[in-house]
Amino acid sequence: MQPATAVRLVLVALGVLLLEVLCRTGVIDHLTMPPPSEIARDLVALLASGQMNGAMLKTLLDVAIACGTATIAGVGVAVVIHARRALRQGLEPLFATYYAIPVYAFYPLFIVLFGLGDTPQILIGFMLAVVAVIMSTLNGLDRVSRVLRKTALVYRLGKLQTALHITLPCAAPYLMTGVKLAVAYAFIGVIGAEFIMSNTGIGYEISFAYNDFDNAIMYPLIVLILVLSIVVNAILSRWEAALLQRRTHR
């Protein structure tokens, strides 16, 4: 293990320990936050009881749909835009300012349009994720070197073959960056939307538990979401790094 990783783990452990001590000694009172050990015990109990399975499944499914559709749509849009300069120049100001716009402000509108089902939440996740995919894909397509494109021409590769043998492998690491961002944004979008207003899902359960002062459910769920998003992000980051390394080594 690298020393930096070791120090990081020790620091995180010390942080948790400090929280534990602060909670046990009453510096942080029990109503504000239960000690970490208690949260861990509650989390295990909560997962074992299975009462959150429905909410978890619903949230994960929505996240998967949001980031799946965003990835497909984003790559598609990017491929179309990449070939047309005028279109790309027209849309670029929109992409550049896109993330400045508070997407959640559209959530009330989506509720009015689609009702309080899964659709508005998936749509928020999709909207947050799709532009990240478009921008990463464009970035990846820009980086396919001209020599390789010419090689494809020389070998008279068809469109599909060029895409499979040249464009895709070259752009893969950047596509991966897009997918990683899409997953993170889909999580943020769906859970945020559930939190604001909904009747199912983990985000909803957290806000319900909060309104109920039910720390034995609220804190474990918060920890669950944090751990889940951090683990998924770490796995995708590792994959992305591996792809990038393979590309530079070739």
Binding site: M33, P93, T97, A100, V103, L109, I188, G192, F195
Partner: protein
């Protein structure tokens, strides 16, 4: 050079206007499909927004959001710069903390809101804290990356010349890291705004986020659309201005490198 840049810039401006017209048309089209109960059309929304802007009650809500947002942004920028500088200059701390910051960036921070509320109580401090939580991480990441990316020769030159720390920070680190830091400010601006609004949507008695939540409860479509329009206009115009400065800074540094 100038002959090429002129028409191009003109074309780009045109493209921007075409995009805006396209979005307005899309809005009108969605309205035609969705109908009066679900949406308000562009013109009616603009008129209603202007009417709202003429009332004192609306302005008090704008002021509440504005004050919370500015305070949150100041905290996020100051804290982010501090953390970024410290981690950027110390290699080992950078290696230790960087992955933590990056994974915190990807976490849905909405889930932390109950904790913020429990810690700060409903009101201004919670809104500000929540906005700042959103903004501080990108600010720290961008500043840190900017400083780590500094040309090592510059810092070695400073050491050879025995420049005092303050001078090094002022005349070497800041100018060469400024473009990246500014990008951080731009990203931090938008995320802090989102954070502050989210904060107002759950735990506030005033502000634009509160107005939105209230309007959902009352099915007041016109109000939802007008507030959304105001927020989008504000965020987009500030963001366009920041982006222009951002590009100019990046270009200036690139030019000075070549020279």
């Amino acid at each position: 050079m100038i002959r090429r840049a002129g028409p191009r810039a003109w074309l780009r401006n045109w493209n921007g206007s075409i995009t805006i017209v396209g979005l307005l048309l899309l809005w009108q089209l969605v309205f035609e499909i969705a109908g009066e109960n679900a949406m308000a059309p562009p013109l009616a929304t603009t008129l209603y927004l202007l009417q709202l802007l003429g009332t004192a009650v609306f302005w008090s809500n704008v002021a509440a959001t504005g004050a919370a947002f500015l305070l949150a942004l100041l905290i996020a920028l100051a804290l982010g710069l501090g953390i970024g500088f410290a981690l950027g200059l110390h290699r080992f701390s950078h290696a230790v903390v960087e992955p933590v910051l990056v994974s915190l960036y990807a976490v849905p921070k909405v889930t932390l809101y109950p904790i913020v509320l429990l810690a700060f109580g409903i009101g201004l401090p919670a809104k500000v804290a929540f906005g700042a939580i959103h903004g501080v991480i990108p600010m720290a990441i961008f500043t840190m990356t900017a400083i780590r990316g500094l040309n090592p020769v510059l810092l070695k030159t400073a050491r050879v010349l025995r420049l005092p720390h303050a001078t090094v920070a002022r005349s070497i680190i800041l100018p060469s890291a400024l473009p990246e830091i500014f990008t951080g400010i731009r990203v931090s601006f938008s995320l802090t705004l989102i954070g502050t609004l989210l904060g107002e949507m759950f735990g506030a008695q005033r502000g634009l986020g509160y107005l939105l939540m209230q309007a959902i409860g009352l099915q007041n479509v016109r109000m939802i659309m007008a507030v959304t329009l105001l927020l989008v206009l504000f965020a987009a115009s500030v963001s366009v201005a920041l982006l222009a400065i951002d590009r100019r800074l990046h270009r200036a540094v690139r030019d000075s490198m070549i020279a």
